[in-house]
């Protein structure tokens, strides 16, 4: 699934990696908001292009490009549907908006250590248990993926053919894959619970944490920059009417 490549953490020591995850999350949310506020294809394109340098700095441009590649089918569908109903400009705008939505969250996931997600959530006042559940889900994704492969190998070796038959048949053929996977996941979760209990989970109502996320100067600086960018953008749209200006320029030309 190429489209997921842009959401898979890539290790690195770049500036972007070092930013506090909350700052990056704020960035993602603000850019997403801008994507919703702006409607003209040229302004959306400008915003999209503005996100690209971040990928370069994070040395993750290739991964993002793979995501874009994987999403082209989806983008194509969006374009086609909008083209038929609303015309070329709208179709272009919607397609760029989609790419922008992918891009703004992609940068977050590509540069944030998974173990910091939970920290970030806790700092944002999410209860520890929820953040822990989230962390554990992330932890076991590769394990379950490996299990799924092993299960498929075992079942195919018993004559199960996953690529034959009509749609209904194929769905049924996945039962011998899903059942062991789910049962296995349940068994694992019991083992995890035992292990957690055995290491005093819940011993103290006040839990400490080995690491703590603290804002550094660069985090404050970035956050200020992002907020400023948002204010400028909103001002340009609603008070300067920049999009109407562009529209009329284009129709003149």
């Amino acid at each position: 699934m190429k489209i997921l490549e842009g959401f898979e953490f890539k290790r690195g020591e770049t500036l972007i990696h070092k930013l506090d995850p909350r700052v990056k999350l704020a960035y993602s949310i603000i850019v997403f908001a801008l994507a919703m506020i702006f409607t003209h294809s040229i302004t959306l394109l400008i915003i999209l292009i503005s996100t690209l340098p971040l990928f370069y700095v994070a040395k993750a441009f290739r991964k993002f490009a793979k995501s874009v590649q994987g999403s082209l089918i989806l983008v194509g569908i969006v374009f086609a549907v909008n083209f038929i109903t609303l015309g070329f400009e709208r179709a272009l705008a919607m397609s760029i908006r989609l790419l922008l939505m992918i891009s703004c969250f992609s940068i977050f996931f590509l540069t944030t250590y998974p173990e910091d997600f939970a920290e970030a959530l806790v700092k944002l006042k999410v209860p520890y248990e929820f953040a822990l559940t989230f962390t554990m889900a992330l932890r076991f994704v590769p394990t379950l993926a490996r299990e799924a492969q092993l299960i498929m190998d075992a079942q195919r070796s018993r004559g199960l053919e996953l690529d034959k038959g009509n749609f209904i048949r194929r769905l049924r053929n996945y039962i011998p894959i899903l059942v062991p996977l789910i049962v296995g996941a349940i068994r694992k979760s019991i083992k995890v619970a035992e292990a957690m209990e055995s290491r005093a989970f819940g011993a103290s109502p006040k839990r400490t944490s080995l690491r703590e996320l603290k804002f550094k100067q660069r985090d404050y600086a970035f956050l200020a920059l992002i907020v400023l960018m948002f204010i400028v953008a909103v001002y340009a749209k609603y008070f300067l009417g920049v999009e109407e200006l562009i529209s009329s320029l284009v129709s003149l030309g």
């Binding site: 299990e147 092993l150 299960i151 190998d153 079942q155 070796s157 004559g159 011998p176 059942v179 049962v183």
Partner: protein, 273 residues
């Protein structure tokens, strides 16, 4: 007959098999050994087509595995994987054991007969209506074995069958292998259990870092300090005893308790008793 010819295989950038060649004749009983990552499991997955070589070829009963599906090849080469929980899914033990037979399109009467035979062989007849998930670890392992034996493949490959098993369970496995051997089945076992191999297997294929570094008589291989070191295996305990006593002219290639006993009796008898 399985023929592996100069096979190379890589997972992404990791080279798992580097020019592996070997031949296994019908009726043979072979142990494939080597350290973790040596390529043992990768190799056996080529026997039923789960993996196809990047270079070289694998022929199973004369058929190049690249020209056959996993289902076709599995019909003749049964793979029993290490963890039974990776395959159990049916409502009853009976259904589980019948699964492969159904997939291969056997007629109903044949399925009934074969399932009964396999269940009885593995001491599971009494448990046939139970859910496989309600069984103990050892019982689940036997269900997994029964589910492969039921469709009577010519070659049976076991991937690490002794891991997590107690001594009695290993004995039962050894008996089963003997029985299958008497039925002229070809048995291939991937294992690191040196004691188990010393007792039950005449031929060892020793792998290290994706290559076959030795292939032949078990005794010659498992008592060779150089080969064992290369494959990161510990020698059988009796072999270690023999080495401790080499200055008493005890042969260095002992593997069994009975041999060590006889050698020690000789040593003590010789020394003026």
């Amino acid at each position: 007959m399985i023929e592996v010819h100069d096979v190379w295989y890589s997972y992404d950038e990791v080279v798992a098999l580097r020019g592996v060649s070997l031949k296994i004749q019908p009726g043979e009983v072979v142990a494939i050994m080597g350290e973790n990552g040596a390529g043992k499991t990768t190799l056996i997955k080529h026997f039923n087509g789960l993996l196809k070589p990047d270079k070289g070829y694998v022929k199973v009963f004369g058929v190049d595995t690249r020209n056959a599906s996993v289902a076709e090849l599995s019909r003749r080469v049964g793979l029993v994987f290490q963890n039974p929980d990776h395959q159990l899914f049916a409502e009853t033990v009976e259904d589980e054991v019948a699964f492969a037979l159904k997939n291969f399109g056997f007629p109903k009467e044949v399925i009934e007969r074969r399932v009964k035979w396999a269940l009885k062989l593995l001491d599971l007849w009494e448990l046939r209506d139970q859910s496989p998930f309600a069984l103990s670890g050892g019982e689940r392992k036997r269900v997994a074995i029964a589910s492969i034996l039921s469709y009577d493949p010519d070659v049976i490959v076991f991937d690490e069958p002794t891991v997590g098993q107690d001594y009695a369970q290993k004995e039962r496995l050894a008996q089963l292998i003997k029985l299958l051997r008497s039925q002229l089945k070809t048995i291939i076992v991937v294992t690191h259990d040196v004691e188990f191999v010393a007792e039950n297997f005449p031929r060892v294929v020793l792998m290290s870092e994706g290559r076959v570094i030795a292939d032949g008589n078990t005794r010659r291989i498992l008592t060779s300090p150089e080969l064992l070191k290369k494959a990161r295996l510990t020698p059988p305990q009796i072999t270690q005893v023999a080495w401790e006593l080499s200055d008493f002219s005890v042969p260095r290639d002992l593997m069994w308790v009975s041999e060590a006993r006889d050698a020690i009796l000789r040593v003590l008898g010789v020394r003026g008793r």
